[in-house]
Symmetry: C2
Subunit: 411 residues, 2 copies
Amino acid sequence: MTTPTRESCVELDVKDPLAGFRDDFVIPDGVIYLDGNSLGVLPAHTASRIEHVVTQEWGQGLIRSWNDAGWFDKPRTLGDRVGALVGAGPGQVVVCDSTSINLFKALAAALTLRPDRHAVVGDRDNFPTDLYMMEGATGSHHERRLISADGPTLADVLDEQVAVVVLTQVDYRTGRMYDMAAVTAQVQAAGALMIWDLSHSVGAVPVDLDGCGADFAVGCSYKYLNGGPGAPAFIYVASRHQDAATQPLAGWHGHARPFEFTDSYEPAPGITRFLVGTPPLLSYAGLEASLEIWDRVDMAALRAKSLALTDLFIELVESRVPDHVEVVTPRDHAVRGSQVSLRHEDGYAPMAALIERGVIGDFRAPDLMRFGFTPLYVGYADVWDAVDVLADVLESGVWREARFATRNAVT
Amino acid sequence: MTTPTRESCVELDVKDPLAGFRDDFVIPDGVIYLDGNSLGVLPAHTASRIEHVVTQEWGQGLIRSWNDAGWFDKPRTLGDRVGALVGAGPGQVVVCDSTSINLFKALAAALTLRPDRHAVVGDRDNFPTDLYMMEGATGSHHERRLISADGPTLADVLDEQVAVVVLTQVDYRTGRMYDMAAVTAQVQAAGALMIWDLSHSVGAVPVDLDGCGADFAVGCSYKYLNGGPGAPAFIYVASRHQDAATQPLAGWHGHARPFEFTDSYEPAPGITRFLVGTPPLLSYAGLEASLEIWDRVDMAALRAKSLALTDLFIELVESRVPDHVEVVTPRDHAVRGSQVSLRHEDGYAPMAALIERGVIGDFRAPDLMRFGFTPLYVGYADVWDAVDVLADVLESGVWREARFATRNAVT
C-alpha cells in the first residue's frame, strides 16, 4: 500500500460520496475542526431556522404556537427522528432534558422493573456523569460494581443481584466501542436490564437499538448531531417496558392528562411518561434544523467514511511521528468509534499548540489528545493537514511554550 | 371617583413612568396580550442576541466558547441576575433545567435536612407539577398532606412530622398571593422547611427571599421574565443550607471538580451542587437578552402599575359586564398577584372568542378566564380596549359559536 500524500487525500475528497454535506455546515476560516465529538459545528441553515422560531413562532404566534407550531409535541416528533438514527421504531424516543437527567430516569425506571435486585454495574471508563448518576439514583440501597479494562470483567460481576448495567457504548477517552448486541444479550441472560449511553455513538456509528433488543438508552444531540451547545438530550425506552416502568421526576408534561390539572400524578401511557417539565424550545429549534440534514444521511456510507478517516489519521500519525505519541484507539474496526486518541505524557500543552494553529481537538486527563472525525464535514485532506501541523508541533518542540486558556473545554 | 373612560386611560399611559419599556418588546399587530403570565412576549433585541450566540459564539467560537464566551458560568452569572429580582444575594441562585426538576432537587435536599420527619405539605391549588413532584420525590416514605382554601389550613397540618412545605406563592388560577414572610415564619416555627414556587411571582410582584429568611425557591423565566418558550428555570437555596443539603441528580456540572473525571460524585461547594448536566445555551441566550431589560426595572414602580392595571380591569369588568362574570381574584392588594381571573360557567368558549378578536388571555378548567397584566408592555388603554371586546363578546352571545383550537394552551 502506498503511503498517502496530500494529493492522494485530495483525490479521496473528490471521490467522496458524502463530500456535498460539507456545504451544509459553517466551518470557521483557518480551522480544521476535530472536536465534533465534543460540540458539533453549526449547520448553515440553523441560524435562519432559529430566527424563524424566535421572531415568528414566539414573537408573532406567542402562546398560540403551543398548538399551531407543534411545540407541545416536539419532544415526541423530534424523538422519532432521532430514534430513526439509532434503530428505534416510532414511539420509543423522546427528546428532553439533559443526558444526565435522562440517565437518572432510565436508572430509576429499570430499578422499578427489578425491585428484588440490589446491585448496579458500570464501567470505570463510562463518562463520569453516568457513574455519578448511578450513585444519585440508587442511594445507599444498591451496591455499585465497576468493571474496567483491567478487570473485573462484566462476566465477573454479573449475578442474580444485578438489576441494571450502564455502559457508554463508545469510550469518550479512547474511542473503544462495545458490541451492543453481544453485551445486551449477555446482560439480559443474567436477568438484568441494559442502559446504553449513546452520546458518542449517535451520528457517529450505526446503532440498532431495536435489533439488539435494547432496554433503555440515553444520549446527547450536541456532538455528532450538531444540535447546538447544550441541545436537548434523548431517552429511549423499549416499547415492552414503557407501561410497567415509572420514574420519579413526575412532571406535568409526563402526566396522562396534563391539562386537567388534577392533584395526583398519573403517568401517561407510552414514552410520554419520561417527559418532565416545559421543553426549552429555542434549543429544540437548533436540533430540528440539524435533523433536516440527518434525515438525508446514509449511515452505512457515514460509517465507511468514518473508518477511512480514522484509518488515515492513524496511518499518518504512525508514519510521521511514531516516537512522540501512542495510538490508544483500537485498530479493529469492529470496536472503534469515530475518534482517535493519542497518548502523550504532556498532551495538554501540545493540544494547546495545535489549537493555536487552528487544529481543534481536545485533551482528556491525564495524558490523552483526542481527535473526533465527523464524516459530514471533515475530509481526507483535512486529516493530512492536521497531522502535518501535529508533526510540526511535536518535532519542533514549540508545544513546550503553549498554554490552554484558564479552564479545560467541555466534553 | 369618576368612571374611567378610554380617554382617561390614554392619559394614564401618557403619564406612566414605565411606558418607555413598551418599545423594548414586540407586540403583534392587532393583539392585546394578556397572557404574559403564561408565555411572555419577545423582547425587541432578543433575536439579534440569539443570532450572535448562534453565528459567533457557536458558529465561530465552537468549543472555545465554553471559556471565551462564559458558557460554563452562565447558570451562575444569570442566576445572580435572576436572584436580584427576587431578593436573593449572590451565590444562592442558579439558572438550570425546568421548574419541575428544580422542585424535585429542592424537595430532595430539604428531606436530607429533615431526615426524621415523614410528611410533606402542599396546597391543592399549587400548580399541579408541584403536587406531582411531591409524590415523585418522596415515594411512599412520606405522607402528603394537602391544604386548601376550604380547609384544612396550614396550621391544621403543621406538626413535628412535617419536613417541608411547598407553596406556589401566586395561585396560577385565581391570582391570590401568599404572604411570604408570614408563611415562611409559620413553617419554620414548626421546624419545617419552606419551598416557594415563584413561577407566577418573579417579574410580577416584589419578592424578598433573603429578607423572609426563605429556605428554597424555584421558578420559571418564560412568563413575566420574557426569557422565551421553555426558557431555563431557576433554583434558590439559602446559603446556610447549601453545604449540608444534597440532591440525587448527581450530574457532572454539580461536581466539585468536573474536569478531573473522577469516578465518584463529590458535590461542589455552594449553589453549584444544584446543577446537573450541560445547559441548553441557546435557550439561555433568550433569558440573557431579557435580563438586559430587567436589570433596569424598578420593582416598586412595576408593582404600583401592576396593581393599577388589575384594579382598572376589575373596575371596568364590574361596571360593564357585572351579570356575566364573577371576579375571583382578591380585591385586597396585599394578597393579589399580577393577574385577574373571571369565573364564567362556559369560560372556555368566551375566551376562544376573545382570542379570535385579538385579546389573548387563557382558560383554566373548569370555569376560569385568566388575564395576566405585565406592566412593562401592557398599558391602561389596552385594559380599556380588552374589556370593551369582552363586553361585546359576552353581551352579544357571539361566544356561543367560538371554539378553541384542538388543545388547550400551556400554562
